[in-house]
């Protein structure tokens, strides 16, 4: 196909050890794109009602994006999809690395697994031949060792590998799937689905060419994007970012991101320090949750956050890590003699989840836990959330020293935190309880611990506070895969600058009062729905959120899609595709028996009761109204969250 798509997917029956190809008509790509859209199209119908997420009827899919391999920049994301065992909803996890193009180079837009193998297996495509091979010898090995060992298998030297570690094998509901030695598709607990199928790894070697409508136009756009990304104006040292956060916090009004060149500042920060550039500035601003969401920037002040400043995590980097097709390179590999050899540096989410959330300011322990969790194949965000939950239960007397196996589980006790993380990986003692996430743990512990289990619909929240930006709270609740921080927020909407390309979208004022962020109105709902739709097409195209955050001037997303497909669609047409995908995923949840009204965030994270100190003091979020408004502008019932018959008909998703 000359539109960036390979035109077919592969289905693998692990029970019968059979496989078959399915040709996907071009009309499906035109209405759902590839990636997450193609997955939503296929899985809605094929996963039966009330399917057991860890049973044979659940389907685990690995999908690549439509723009992957076309020459578009930032188009190296692959996605894992299926029904989440953690939330019972639609599950997806998105990851960079080098695996995404490998799916297409093997000739497929997606590879889907169903059934359960009776013994551990790995799936391999080599020279156009797909087969299942025994994996007993790899079972029990961590993600890094698994990759190293698999690459020694005949013909696998150059293979791209996605695999689970011991966490996925033990069906920890907060386990993910790793590629390229520790880049994790971590959310939704899909590592447990892979473990339940006894599928240790997917090993792909292929060299198919990926054709698109106008390759030279794609390349010209990429050149223009790359030139803009490479320019690096002078920028102050890292410690200034903390002060910048404090200054912005003190202002009663907020300038529009464009007014303070935030897209450019963001680019410089990511390129220079990676996501860890956000460590201090977001704590100061109030975006980073502290002390299991009950603390504030005052509890984790600059004397503590300075120990986790961006330089700590970037000075040891020996080479910048670029995912496939990325001109930015926000990752980094570091080596510490005697301990680490070329491992991925901790990202912002990891640092804050295992740092500020647990009041831990010991960077060495974060380096250690980051590596152990990546090797185990466990979500660092959820792991940090689970540890913080356990600490608060211990501090409140809900968990005794006997329950913790003698661990003195106090705020900031880095040794105890590391021990607990190890127990979670091995599913031992208290760790066994926490390895299935905070919701299940609190349901087992009870004694009022539910109030300390911070999640949305069962998914632990990422390190972005809805009390700072209520947009995060909205998307935590309304997305088909709840508790997701990578879809939208009021800040993201401003960074995306969608109004420049898509007609009818509201443009924020140049300066607005911070207090206005907490007042629901139609503009906010339209902006939130636009973020969802936009990220659906981004995930359909396999492109990276950080690219979109550079703004439409630098990141010509709709133009790339047009150059790659030649479909003659307008940005509005593509946004309608995003709306279709969103509605399809919502219908998936309803088919699986999910009541959208019941997908809720923990009260504490909504400011109920409000914090008494710090950046978010006194703030609470009118989430019911914000969610209802979102449902309304999405063409779903504002009372139930069910897509209306008219919307279903208009989008053709019945």
């Amino acid at each position: 196909m000359k539109n960036g798509c390979m035109g077919k997917v592969l289905w693998v029956d692990l029970t019968r050890r059979q496989m078959h190809e399915e040709v996907i008509p071009e009309s499906v790509y035109r209405t759902y794109l590839g990636g997450i859209g193609l997955a939503a199209y296929l899985l809605h119908d094929r996963i039966p009602e009330k399917a057991d997420p860890l049973g044979s009827e659940n389907i685990l899919g690995f999908v690549s994006g439509l723009l992957t391999g076309t020459g578009s920049m930032f188009a190296g994301r692959w996605m894992v999809v299926g029904k989440s065992p953690l939330t019972g909803t639609w599950g997806d996890a998105n990851c960079g690395g080098n695996f995404s193009p490998a799916i297409k180079r093997c000739g497929y837009d997606g590879i889907f697994f169903y059934g359960i193998s009776d013994t551990p297996v790995y799936f391999c495509i080599q020279k156009g031949r797909a087969e299942l091979r025994e994996a007993s010898q790899f079972w029990g090995k961590d993600t890094r060792d698994t990759e190293i060992q698999l690459k020694k298998e005949p013909g696998c030297r150059q293979a791209r590998i996605a695999c689970i570690g011991p966490a996925g094998e033990k069906r920890s509901l907060i386990s993910g799937i790793s590629n390229d030695n520790g880049r994790m598709a971590a959310r939704s607990g899909l590592g447990a689905v892979m473990g339940s199928k006894r599928l240790k790894a997917v090993v792909l070697s292929g060299a198919n060419r990926i054709e698109c409508f106008d390759g030279s136009a794609v390349k010209a756009l990429s050149r223009q994007c790359s030139d803009a990304v490479q320019s690096m104006p002078p920028f102050p040292p890292a410690f200034v970012l903390g002060y910048l956060g404090a200054v912005l916090r003190a202002l009663p009004a907020q300038p529009k991101t464009e007014a303070i060149f935030l897209n450019t500042i963001y680019k410089i920060m990511l390129k220079r320090w990676g996501t860890s550039s956000l460590n201090q500035i977001l704590i100061e601003l109030g975006d980073s949750p502290i002390k299991n969401w009950k603390g504030s920037n005052e509890d984790f002040g600059s004397e503590k956050s300075a120990r986790l400043n961006p330089d700590v995590f970037s000075d040891c980097v020996i080479v910048k890590y670029h995912c496939y097709a990325c001109p930015l390179g926000c990752g980094g590999l570091y080596t510490k003699p005697g301990t680490f050899e070329e491992v991925h540096k901790p990202e912002y989410e990891t640092v804050l989840a295992l740092g500020g959330l647990c009041m831990n300011d010991d960077p060495e322990s974060i380096f250690q836990m980051n590596d152990r969790l990546n090797r185990a194949g466990m979500d660092t965000i959820s792991a940090g959330g689970a540890v913080a939950f356990a600490i608060e239960c211990f501090e409140q007397g809900i968990l005794s020293r006997k329950d913790t196996g003698g661990l003195d589980l106090r705020w900031g006790n880095s040794q105890a935190i590391m021990t607990l993380v190890d127990q979670m990986i091995r599913r031992e003692g208290l760790g066994d309880l926490l390895a299935d996430g905070v919701k299940i743990a609190s349901e087992r512990i009870r004694k009022g611990s539910e109030a300390y289990a911070v999640h949305a619909g069962g998914q632990e929240l990422a390190m972005h506070d809805g009390r700072f930006d209520p947009g995060f709270a909205v998307h935590n609740c309304v997305e088909a895969a709840p508790g997701r921080h990578t879809i939208g927020s009021q800040l993201y909407y401003e960074l995306f600058q969608l109004w420049e390309k898509v007609k009818g979208l509201p443009e924020p004022d140049w300066v607005y009062l911070k207090s206005s962020k907490y007042i629901p109105d139609k503009e906010k709902a339209v902006a939130a729905a636009a973020c969802s739709r936009f990220m659906n097409i981004m995930n359909g195209a396999g492109t990276c959120l950080y690219g979109a955050m550079l703004g439409t001037q630098t990141f010509p997303f709709f133009e790339w899609l047009e150059a790659a497909t030649g479909w003659g669609k307008s940005p509005e047409d593509y946004m309608e595709i995003g709306e279709r995908i969103q509605t399809r995923k919502q219908l998936f949840n309803i088919k699986q028996g999910i009541t959208p009204l019941n997908v809720k965030m923990t009260d504490r994270a909504l400011g109920r009761p409000p914090l008494e100190a710090g950046a978010n003091k006194g703030r609470s979020i009118p989430i019911e109204k914000l969610v209802s408004d979102y449902w309304h502008v999405s063409g779903w019932s504002p009372k139930t969250g069910h897509p209306t018959p008219e919307t279903i008909r208009r989008l053709g998703v019945s």
């Binding site: 020459g71 193009p101 060299a207 060419r209 020996i318 910048k320 670029h322 496939y324 980094g332």
Partner: protein, 142 residues
């Protein structure tokens, strides 16, 4: 569209050995055939064929280049390279690797032709590079 093997084929099977897609079939001594569905048009079969028997998608015979050391090789312009690693992925034989100094003061990595003997001169790395940082150079004697 795909490459074909003309009647000049003597069935020596060298093309079969070099094809990265394993899409050439044929018994030794007999006419060989390219599977159109799998061929990626890398030209390796054409460069190696002693009879210059391979015909490209435009129906032109591909001239043999004697000795692999004479095949064009990618040369990377580090001043242009953005380390996006597209070239590493485009290479059907995996002959490019990321090279770097291991010095925290110089954190940029570049592609490097790690295994010259494996390179099949397909030029995909140069064609796919978004910033034209790769040129194919070499004696290319026929």
């Amino acid at each position: 569209m795909s490459f074909n093997i003309s009647d000049k084929c003597i069935g020596c099977s060298v093309c079969k050995k070099i094809c990265p897609m394993a899409c050439i079939t044929g018994e030794r001594g007999k006419h060989h055939k390219i599977d159109e569905a799998l061929c990626i048009e890398c030209k390796a079969c054409g460069y190696i064929c002693p009879q210059s028997a391979v015909v490209d998608a435009r129906n032109h015979f591909i001239e043999r280049i004697r000795f692999r050391k004479n095949w064009p090789k990618p040369v990377i312009d580090k001043t242009r390279c953005i380390s996006c690693v597209i070239c590493l992925d485009s290479c059907p034989v995996g002959c490019l690797e990321l090279s770097y100094t291991r010095d925290p003061a110089d954190q940029k990595g570049f592609p490097l032709l790690a295994d010259e003997r494996t390179c099949i001169a397909c030029e995909f790395c140069a064609a796919d590079c978004p910033v034209n940082a790769i040129q194919m150079t070499g004696p290319a004697e026929t």
